[in-house]
C-alpha cells in the first residue's frame, strides 16, 4: 500500500502518534510504503498515485490548500487525521470571535509583514473526505486500526457513542453530575476509554461532537449547574468553533 502522511496547520501530534506506536511500527512499516512522509522520511514524492493519504491539521493557508488538493487528486482514500483535520481544532477556536487579520496583527504586529492565512477550517470544507480518525491527539489503537484496514483495502467501522458510555463502564465518579464540574462527556465522541475522567479530569472535548449529540440538553444541564453561557461556549469551542446549540441559542 502506497501511503502519504502529511501535516497542514497543526502541532504534528497526529503524525507523531503513529511514530509512538513503537510495538506496531516495524510491522506497519513492512506493510506500507511511505512514499510521502516529510516528518520522518527524506526523498518524498508527491507525483504518484497513493492508496491512501492521512492528512493532519486544519486548512489555513493557500499552501495548505494546494497540498490538500494534490493529495486528494493523488489518493484513492483521503483520511482526515485528528481533530484539527476533522473540525478545525485549537487553531480554529476563535473563528467566530476575531478576524484572521486581527489575530495575525496581534502576533506579527501591524508592520505589514503578515503571513498569508485565512480562518482555519476542516478538510471537508474543501475536498471530499473518505474516513476520519478523531482525537487531539488520536488514540494509538485507532490509528493502527485505520492503517491496517487501509492496507487490507477497506475502512474500519466508525464509532458513534459518547465518552460517557466508556466512562460509566469504567465506573468512574461522574464529574458532571456528582462533582458538578464542566464536563463535556455527554456530547463528545468516545473511543478514548474516558481517558481524562479516569484521572479525575473533566472531558475537555478534544475528540469533537459525537453523532446525534444532544447539545441543547448539555447546555441546559450546565446552565442549571451555574456555569455561564460564555464559559460553556468557550469550552465547547476549544476544538470545534461552531456547535449547533439548537433552540437554546
Amino acid at each position: 500500500m502506497k501511503l502519504a502522511i502529511a501535516g497542514l496547520t497543526a502541532c504534528s501530534g497526529c503524525q507523531l502518534t503513529l511514530l509512538n506506536c513503537e510495538d506496531e511500527l516495524p510491522e506497519l512499516l513492512a506493510r506500507c510504503e511511505l512514499v510521502y512522509f516529510p516528518l520522518a522520511e527524506s526523498g518524498n514524492v508527491l507525483e504518484v498515485q497513493f492508496d491512501a493519504a492521512l492528512v493532519e491539521g486544519a486548512v489555513s493557508t493557500p499552501k495548505d490548500l494546494e497540498l490538500l488538493f494534490k493529495l486528494r487528486n493523488a489518493s484513492t482514500h483521503l483520511v482526515a487525521y485528528g481533530t484539527c483535520a476533522l473540525f478545525g481544532g485549537v487553531a480554529a477556536m476563535n473563528n467566530g470571535l476575531n478576524t484572521r487579520q486581527e489575530l495575525l496583527q496581534s502576533v506579527f504586529g501591524t508592520g505589514g509583514c503578515l503571513p498569508e492565512s485565512f480562518a482555519p477550517a476542516p478538510l471537508a470544507n474543501f475536498v471530499s473526505v473518505d474516513a476520519a480518525v478523531t482525537g487531539c491527539p488520536p488514540e494509538k489503537h485507532e490509528i493502527v486500526e485505520m492503517v491496517a484496514a487501509l492496507a487490507a483495502g477497506t475502512l474500519p467501522p466508525a464509532r458513534h457513542y459518547p465518552v460517557c458510555t466508556e466512562c460509566r463502564s469504567r465506573e468512574n465518579l461522574c464529574l458532571l453530575l456528582e462533582k458538578r464540574q464542566l464536563c463535556l462527556g455527554p456530547v463528545v465522541q468516545g473511543g478514548c476509554n474516558a481517558r481524562c475522567p479516569a484521572t479525575g479530569i473533566v472531558c475537555e472535548g478534544c475528540r469533537g461532537p459525537v453523532r446525534e449529540a444532544n447539545v441543547a440538553q448539555e447546555l441546559e444541564l450546565l446552565l442549571e449547574r451555574g456555569f455561564g453561557k460564555d464559559e460553556i461556549e468557550r469550552r465547547m469551542s476549544r476544538f470545534k468553533p461552531e456547535w449547533d446549540y439548537g433552540q437554546r441559542r
Binding site: 497543526a10 502541532c11 504534528s12 526523498g43 502576533v107
Partner: protein, 423 residues
Amino acid sequence: MGSVVEIAPLTRLEGHGRVRVYREGCRVERVELQLVDSPRLFEALLLDKSFAEVPEIICRICALCSTVHKVTALLAVEDAFGVEVSEVTALTRDLMLQAGMIQDHALHLYCLVLPDLLGVRGVAELARVAPELLKTGLAVKKAGNDILETAGGRLIHPVNIRLGGLGRSLTSRELTRLKDGLLKVLPAVQEAHRLFSTPFPFPELPVPDFLALQPSDSPLEARLCRMGDGASFPLRDYRHHIEETVVGHSHAKLSRVQGKEATVGALARLNLNPDLEPGAGALFASHKRELVGKDMRGNNVAQAIEMCHATERALHLIDRLTELGPRREEPVAPTVRAATGCAACEAPRGVLIHSYSFDAQGICTTADVITPTALNQGALARDLLALARGMEGEETSRMTTALERLIRCYDPCISCSVHVLPL
C-alpha cells in the same frame, strides 16, 4: 550567472521549512532559512481566555514538547497567583520532563538522525536495513513514553498534571513498572553515545554563544539565564535581554539575546551546567574534547549523553516518589488576582519561556512564548551560511545533504517556533 538552490520541504524534522542558497557562480551570496509553518497564532488565541484554560490550550503548540509546554505554562500561571505545589506534584512534573527528554532525544536520534548515518531515507528503510538498531531506539523511546502516558494520563497533551496539583498520583505498582522499563533500556542508553559521535563529513562551524537556564535548588524553579561569556540575567527581565524582529522570509521571528545569536539545547546545557548524574557524567568526561567550546556538530552526541542523564535522574525521582508513597492531595487553589507570571524550563531543544498577564478575574490579557527554535533560528541561519561558504565548489547535492544534516543537529521544531509576540 546567479542561481538558487532550494531544499524544500526540509525533512525529518517537525513542522514546515525550507532553505534557499543564493549563488553567484560557485560563490555563495546568502542563505535563507524559511520557517514557513502555517501560523497558529497561539498568543492571540489565549487572550480573553481564563487562566485555567491557558495551559490546556498552549500545550497544543507542539506535540513533541507538549509536556514541557504544559509544565512551563502551569509554572507561569502558578507564579502569577503565588501557588506552591506539593513535593509529589513537583517530583511528578520533573519525572515527566525527564521522560520527555528521553523520548524526544530517542525519537530525534534513532528515527531522524540515524538514517543519515546509515545512508537511508527514513524510518521505513531503517526497519529493513538495521531492524535491531531501530528496535533498540524505539524501546528507549517507549520507556520515556510509558512514563509520560502513565503520569500524564495521555502521551501527547497530558491531562493529569494540572494547576496546583495532580489529577491522581502514581501508584506503587505503576512506579515499579516504569522503573523496570527504564532499567531495561539503561544499557542501550549508556551505549548510544558511541553511535552518535560519528564525525561529520563537513567543515568546522563558528563557535556558538551558548544560553541555558541556571538551575536552582529545584530544577523547575530556574530564575536565571546564563550565557557562555559569564553574562547572566534574571528570567523575569527576559524581555529586556531578548530582542525579537520579524523577518520577511520566515514566519518565525528572529531572537537575539543581548545582541547575540544565541544557541540553546543539549550542547549549550552541557557547556554551561555539566552537573550530571554519575553515568552520564562519565560519558561527558570521555567526550569533553568534542563538546566543550565546540560547534553545533557535537549536539547529537550531547543529546545522547543527556538521554543517559535523564534516564538516571528519572530512576532517582521514581525512587523518591515510591518512598513518599501514593497520596490523595487536593490541588492548591490559586488566589486569582491581577498579576503577571513568568517561568522557563529546559525543553529537549533548549530554553523555553512562557509569560502571561491576567486581570483581576484571571482572564489572560497578554501571552508570550519564546521557544528554543525561535532562539536558535539566528545561529542556525549563521551556521548554514558558514557551511555553504565552506563547501563552495563542492557538488550541489553534497552541499545540500550537509546543510540538511546541520539543520538536524539543531533538532528544530518549527511548529512551535512560529508564535512570538512583538516586544
